[in-house]
Symmetry: D2
Subunit: 289 residues, 4 copies
């Protein structure tokens, strides 16, 4: 970790928009010795809309401890503006678990970026309903758990996973995990499960989107990273991208081209989540890139 | 028209794939003095699939008249391979009619490209259910017909349009024409009506796709040009494109950004149609660009 | 003009970065009744770098007149932080002049967007060294001046243009104006001349970039909008975009494809300039889109 | 290898364009039992230009052995049209060597795609002037050779490499190999060395292109895969791509974003080379994708 990262804090705010918010927040931080590096804000409507803000600041010259700063912020600023807020410290590395089935390209891309230092996280484990990727995963020094799932064992399998993940997953990544998670499982990780779906949602939700795309004869195929909610493929979209295709491409070609898009879309979404750049709102996301 | 275009012919073929097609077609053309400029071919499967071919050739040294050439081709080649085929001569300029409602950006872009010589066609008329664009259209020397439509008058309006279009429209372009055409009207112009839909189909079919896109929180918006069939927004896709958007964009912003994509997607599809580069097949298109 | 635009002001700031700037600026505006809609900031380096900020705020509830507000800001905030700053009021519509030679696609696209209300400016005149586009320009109600240029008359022609432009051009757009402007002319409009160059700069600066691109065999062609400086094609870049090409495209094809990219890149750059979203810095631009 | 690939042959032709080429080639192949899967052709000018063709055909029903077929083609067709031609058999897997320096992302991406079966080749070795990637490379079962290079040892190092590569490299990939190869070395692998350059050539040739890009303030950065010739970064371009950047991106950010573009551009170029889809011509390439 660079020195800068060791002392970086991120303040994320959602509140009703009204005059004076930016002045109050930046004035508070300045008064307590925080040095703001970046500030992004967004409002759905200056009159009666919702206001979002993300600040990244340096902590070395703070005149308060972390808890005291948070306590003061709550009392002096947050309450006055009815803020939903949190401060994340970059030094508190998030724990990430990856779930995968047979298609490993997303998983391997994440592991590869992680060892290169592109993703600042601790990958605590990989869980799969297939045994295939044990050796590949363990070669990165990451624990691998094989938890088979069939219709009879599904509830038990989820229970096993929840036990493994307990305290070990600030973020759960579904890198082509092809089992549908129960609403209870999803509820255990609110806005903390990221799925990569291999289509440009809302087109081709559900099974086998590349085959659907080939049948519909679309001229672009895409991928979508989104937070998982109880409704399949319907959660807040974080990132999407597409690539041009033509009549020359078979379903197999679409899958091969799509893998590259999936890898990039997933890795961007994960990186933004780890860097606290995403604020989910209603069924959408504000992404301060 | 350049001299080359005056003597350009295009042969389009669809047939069951089997060995010897290319040799038979090119051998026939060579034997009769046709000089092939471009040849594109595609097969859905070399074993039992469907074969598509487009040849562009020069006619000055043909040893047969056009009718004789076509007759000979039918007898010598087409019958043997059970071909669905046609020859289009570039000099036979296609007639195009444009239908539009309140949003004129697609219409104006087509007219502007047309006067610049980018679209090789005769624009025979513009029909609108609103009177707004008469002056703009007539300034291009193109006849404008205002045919109002309401639920009571719809059948009569379509009848009026059919009379106007009779013999005047090898191609009908729906440049944001917001009335749904009856199956009978559509059947009068099989694979000859191109619609621009302001979304990345099959996402956001139907009304108000930019609002739908804003509500779903997608990170890219798009446009789709397709042949019109009896089922709304479900015909063979010719061309699609997208542009990146974010939480910062309101529905109004999406509309403004989308206009540029719509203009480009529609003009490409129209140009390809006019140049006989598209072969519809099942509910898809083979586009030899 | 919408009511919101009538009361919109934009504050642009460049200064050495140090703690407290955002708090001071937003605190000042809040104290005087300005309601901030959007705030963007950027720093080249929090330690000793240069800081940039753009705020858009509403003026209806200001407790000071415009001059008094500006005076107070200078005294209370700007001096303390050694700011280079300006406030632009959206209601003060900028005057724009367009210079063009033989290729009119950029000019026509600007005029077309302008009449649609997409570009909030007064187009005061079009100047061309060719007489060709007089009728097209005048049909938009815009004055057209034909000022021929040859090597002997160049100085005199520029003098004529400067007289016409005097007080009539907050922005000068070179929409494919193929004469090289003298350093004196350029100096009369610092950071107020936007040129569209038909390549992806710094590749293919100078004459005939599409021919250069065809000869080099590049797989993408592009366009670049930049502020004009004394050095040809070397000023601060505002916007760029590209489109994919292949061996199939002749130089003529590249020109046709390039026109669409040029139109979009130029119109984006002009729109951003008119909305005070660009801060030039050294030989670069900060663009707060 | 799929059964289809085992029996796939590819015929590549370059010759002066004149009537009858396609008929002669396809007639010849049909007569000898070759079943054509795909046919692509291109001409720089139907009158006196250069003609390019690529055919992919199936060999199971050939009535001649490979040598006899080639002999017959030379006599019956190639000589008549003054063709430069070759037939490649997919079953004859090409041997590939990769050269790399400190930046391993291109190398690792190639190895990863290779083990997945995306690149149909035998990777015979990796050579590096640094020892760093030995373990990573050997874990893929690929031999690794460390050949240090400094100004004094350069000639000797190239000699060592040539000995290692002798008979082992139908293709040499420079995956961020930062030593300039001598004209003699390059001449040993005509049109068989592919380099990935980390800019959109011809912009930012030479050293440190991301720093150059940051200094010039471009709004897109790119990567270029090209065949290596004696002149640095000036050989025929195979593939290019770009990604959007802004003032927010430091040189370090450009490098991180650029890595993804480099990986994709390089892997596409390598795949096309391995599938005999590229015909170099003058200083350009015809790529039949």
């Amino acid at each position: 970790m660079t020195e800068a990262l060791a002392t970086t804090a991120r303040l994320l705010i959602t509140c009703p928009d009204r005059p004076g918010i930016v002045a109050a927040v930046t004035g508070f931080l300045y008064a307590h010795g925080a040095n703001i590096n970046t500030l992004d804000q967004h409002t759905t409507d200056p009159e009666g809309g919702t206001f979002f803000m993300r600040l990244e600041f340096q902590t070395p010259h703070l005149d308060l401890s972390r808890p005291a700063l948070e306590h003061a912020f709550a009392e002096v600023v947050a309450e006055r503006f009815a803020m939903d807020w949190r401060i994340a410290y970059a030094a508190d590395r998030k724990k990430t678990a990856v779930l995968v089935s047979r298609h490993e390209h997303g998983l391997m891309d994440l592991l590869w970026r992680w060892v290169r230092g592109e993703l600042y996280t601790d990958i605590s484990m990989v869980i799969s309903n297939h045994p295939d990727w044990r050796e590949a995963v363990e070669s990165f020094g990451v624990p691998f758990h094989h938890i088979p799932v069939d219709s009879a064992s599904k509830e038990e399998a989820e229970q096993q996973m929840l036990e493994l993940l307990d305290g070990q997953a600030d973020l759960v990544i579904l890198a082509r995990y092809m089992q549908i998670l129960s609403p209870d499982f999803v509820a255990a990780f609110p806005q903390r499960i990221i799925n990569i779906h291999h289509s440009f949602l809302p087109a081709f939700a559900g099974a086998d989107p590349y085959r659907q795309a080939a049948e519909r004869g679309v001229k672009l195929i895409g991928a979508t990273a989104h937070y998982v909610t109880a409704e399949l493929d319907a959660g807040p979209i974080i990132e999407q991208d597409v690539i041009r295709v033509s009549h020359r491409h078979t379903t197999a070609d679409l899958k091969a081209l799509g893998r590259d898009i999936e890898r990039q879309v997933l890795s961007r979404a994960v990186k933004w989540h780890l860097e606290d750049k995403i604020i989910p709102f209603a069924n959408q996301t504000v992404v301060f890139t």
